[in-house]
């Protein structure tokens, strides 16, 4: 404990000294995130310095091993770092799919050479990664993916299409699920491969959503040659050939927990539908929301939202007490995303015609309407609600297969 307190004191001092004042201002939105990568244009000198200083200590990825560019911190230390950063409202120095997804996958499934080659540039924000999982005809049935990867001796030849490749148009590399054995049963025969986006034959096209512009892209692979080794001893394939499904599943579970938690993260925030509605709709002479039926629906939703937050807290506490979360992450994903959709429906109800504006300053270019529409994807991306319910039915309730 004394060690941890010492660590806290040192961390606090270091942060105080090294975190530029501009990096202590709250982010205004997604545009203030530092994503890194070859083509990254720093928003400010402060953003650049902050990244460099944090990366130098390995604190962009505090729990990764030091040899791979991480901070080598224990869970407890990482928690202290987070707390201390929050204390001074320090922004995150770097976010990326490399940190969230590829890193964990490599740490779990990668060979030492792969980790040594790929992880440090992620930690330093030099290489920006995106992911290539979904395909137009795969969707929830991800294992039916068709993107072909053929063995051509010294290289792999990749042909096919990926969809929902977030930020593919701004990324340097992509990790892709490809079919390397077309004869095998569908969950087998899939591999997890790393591809340089600058390879000839890779093209990408942004997808416009019903909510407007989005980070999502379609990415096409047209006779793309991928070297078997990106550097001596650094295989392009992560994990065993044809066993990429294991890696994918690992990351999907990871992602589900993130989305489940994230999708509901805002629930506890300041913008409760009740408060929003009281402001937008007004209250009557008894102090109750002027729209009594909306009021009832909001109160019922707040009860569910609150109980859901407590359930997240409980599961976290249970996990600390050594009980794994397992398939319960599907519950968080399912309930959290469905709740978030409901929350935005209520906010739209409260906002009325003001909330329907799509352009212009008054509505901040339709901020609420666009957010509302965007939530509709919550229960689709990262495993649909239907898939989560299937998982709960099968794995938790152990109901029989159809």
């Amino acid at each position: 404990m004394a060690d941890l307190e010492k660590f806290r004191a040192e961390t606090r001092a270091w942060l105080e000294e090294n975190c530029p004042p501009d990096m202590r201002k709250p982010m205004r939105g997604e545009e203030d995130i530092c994503w890194g990568g070859k083509r990254w244009k720093f928003q400010s000198e402060a953003q650049k310095i902050w990244l460099e200083r944090m990366a130098a200590r390995g604190w962009t990825v505090p729990t990764w091993p030091k040899e791979y560019g991480g901070g080598g911190l224990s869970k407890e230390e990482a928690k202290i770092l987070k707390e201390e950063m929050r204390r001074i409202k320090a922004r995150s120095p770097l976010e990326s799919f490399g940190i969230w997804m590829l890193g964990p996958a490599l740490l779990e499934y990668g060979a030492h050479e792969q980790k040594a080659h790929f992880l440090p540039p992620i930690a330093r924000g030099e290489i920006r990664w995106c992911q290539g999982y979904s395909e137009p005809n795969a969707g929830s049935d991800l294992a039916s993916l068709q993107c072909r990867c053929e063995d051509r001796g010294d290289h792999w030849l990749v042909n096919g299409q990926k969809i929902w490749t977030s930020y593919a148009d701004e990324s340097d590399w992509i990790f892709v699920l490809v079919r390397t054995d077309r004869e095998a049963p569908k969950h087998l025969g899939i591999s997890f491969i790393l591809i340089d986006m600058e390879s000839p034959g890779v093209t990408t096209r942004p997808i416009r959503l019903i909510s407007g512009k989005s980070p999502f892209c379609e990415t096409f692979f047209d006779d793309v040659k991928v070297p078997k080794e990106h550097a001596p001893g650094v295989s392009a394939v992560v994990g065993e050939l044809n066993r990429g499904w294991d890696v994918a599943k690992y990351l999907l579970t990871h992602e589900r927990e993130m989305i489940g938690a994230g999708g509901s993260g805002a629930i506890g925030g300041a913008a409760s539908p009740g408060e929003v509605a009281a402001r937008l709709v007004g209250v009557d002479e008894t102090g109750r929301l002027a729209d009594p039926i909306l009021r009832g629906r909001i109160a019922e939703a707040e009860i569910d939202g609150w109980a859901f937050l407590l359930t997240m807290e409980r599961l976290k506490d249970e996990a600390k007490a050594g009980k794994g979360m397992g398939a319960k992450s599907s519950m968080l994903k399912y309930y959290g995303t469905e709740f978030n959709k409901r929350r935005y429906e209520l906010m739209m109800d409260a906002a009325g015609s003001d909330g329907l504006e799509w352009e212009g300053e008054r509505s901040e270019d339709g901020k609420l309407a666009r957010s509302w529409l965007r939530t509709k994807a919550n229960s689709i991306e990262g495993g649909t609600s239907e898939v989560q319910l299937n998982i709960i039915a099968k794995r938790i309730l152990e109901l029989p297969d159809a």
Partner: protein
């Protein structure tokens, strides 16, 4: 009166469907949107519709209308809902035509109804002032000065307000906001001095405007209905609009559902069409029932408007509430069942969700009308 379409109405429906699918499919709305069209609908198309008698659907034949009645108007609204057709049908042919036909003086009727039927006049109803529909809370002042009135205040969510030639404005000539008494409807020229209009680009790419009135002059001749007693006319006009929107939403929801059921049959996952999954089947079957209920409620409201206009209030609230709630559910299920593709702007289904959201909000959302029904039923 049997709760079914008459033969004449069925013929109207078939003709309308054919015309709209050919001339005003969803892609037409998309084009208007992407071109950032300033009018927001095609004036040529509207002229064609007028020639078919649609613009004057409520207008007596003597004034050049087709006089199909509210049920006929509902048929057209439902079909336009199916194709998300942008036109001033609601604002002009339902709202304004109802106001003029039921409440205006003979001079107004003779002047405007033929122009409406001919497709030469676009009118808009300016009632809401805040974000939620609350007609009794009308606050826009019409101060009497001599023989004239001066209108000052703001209106919002005025469908077709930015291109209308004339505005029907709910103003307060007496009493306080919240009171039904003291409201008067004025017919105001959109070009009149003191009128400032701002087009608001809405989520559904259709038209609406915010309109500022800055000492706009009107006289007793411009009044529709009674001075201080405009509430009855306002309610009547709104009821017609609510029933029309219910029919429109019923059409939009129906079409979104058809697209969804089609997708369920065609999209394969885990080795079979997703429509073979029982959980989706049950949700689709439940939604089917709800859509049938919405359709019944809309048709009934329109028939009652034709048969006993003054008694239609509760039926119109029923239709607006039910169609709004069901259309919302239909659009939500449509997106979810379409999966990722439904989230893309490229796919039409999202346009249905957007239009339904706006139609659901206009002239009272389901909560507003549920509250109204509870009050009407004494609890």
């Amino acid at each position: 009166m049997p709760l079914v379409l008459t033969e004449e109405q069925e013929m109207l429906r078939d003709a309308a469907r054919g015309f709209l699918e050919a001339k005003a499919p969803v892609s037409a709305l998309r084009k208007l949107r992407d071109a950032r069209d300033e009018v927001g609908f095609s004036r040529d198309l509207w002229k064609e519709m007028a020639e078919m008698g649609w613009a004057g659907v409520l207008v007596e034949e003597a004034f050049g209308g087709s006089d199909f009645g509210f049920a006929g108007a509902g048929v057209l609204a439902e079909e336009m809902g199916r194709t998300l057709t942008a036109s001033p049908f609601l604002s002009t042919s339902i709202l304004a035509a109802t106001a003029l036909k039921k409440y205006a003086c003979e001079a107004h009727r003779q002047e405007y109804l033929p122009k409406i039927a001919a497709g030469d006049l676009v009118m808009a109803l300016a009632v809401d002032e805040k974000n939620k529909h609350a007609p009794a809370k009308t606050a826009l002042r019409a101060e009497k000065s001599g023989n004239a009135f001066r209108l000052s205040g703001e209106k919002t969510f005025v469908a077709d307000g930015h291109v209308a030639d004339k505005l029907i404005v709910a103003a307060r000539t007496a009493g306080a906001p919240g009171e039904e008494a003291g409201i008067t409807l004025f017919l105001v020229d959109a070009q009149a001095k003191g009128v400032a209009r701002e087009r608001t680009i809405m989520v559904d790419s259709r038209n609406a405007a915010r309109v500022r009135f800055d000492g706009v002059e009107a006289t007793g001749d411009d009044v529709v209905g009674e001075i201080d007693g405009g509430w009855r006319a306002l309610e009547g006009v709104l009821n017609a609009g609510r029933a029309g929107l219910a029919a429109e939403m019923s059409g939009s929801a129906q079409r979104a559902f058809e697209m969804t059921v089609g997708y369920l049959k065609e999209r394969t996952q885990f080795g079979r069409p997703i429509g073979a999954f029982q959980a989706l089947q049950h949700r689709a079957a439940h939604l089917y029932c709800e859509l049938e209920l919405a359709r019944s409620a809309a048709l009934k409201a329109l028939q009652v408007l034709d048969e006993s206009f003054e008694a239609a209030g509760a039926f119109c609230s029923l239709a607006k509430a039910k169609a709004g709630a069901v259309a919302r559910l239909a659009s939500q299920e449509a997106i979810q069942m379409h999966g990722g593709i439904g989230m893309t702007d490229e796919h039409d289904i999202g346009l249905y969700m957007k239009r339904i959201r706006v139609a659901q909000e206009m002239f009272g959302d389901p909560a507003f009308h549920a509250d109204r029904i509870a009050r009407l039923r004494g609890y």
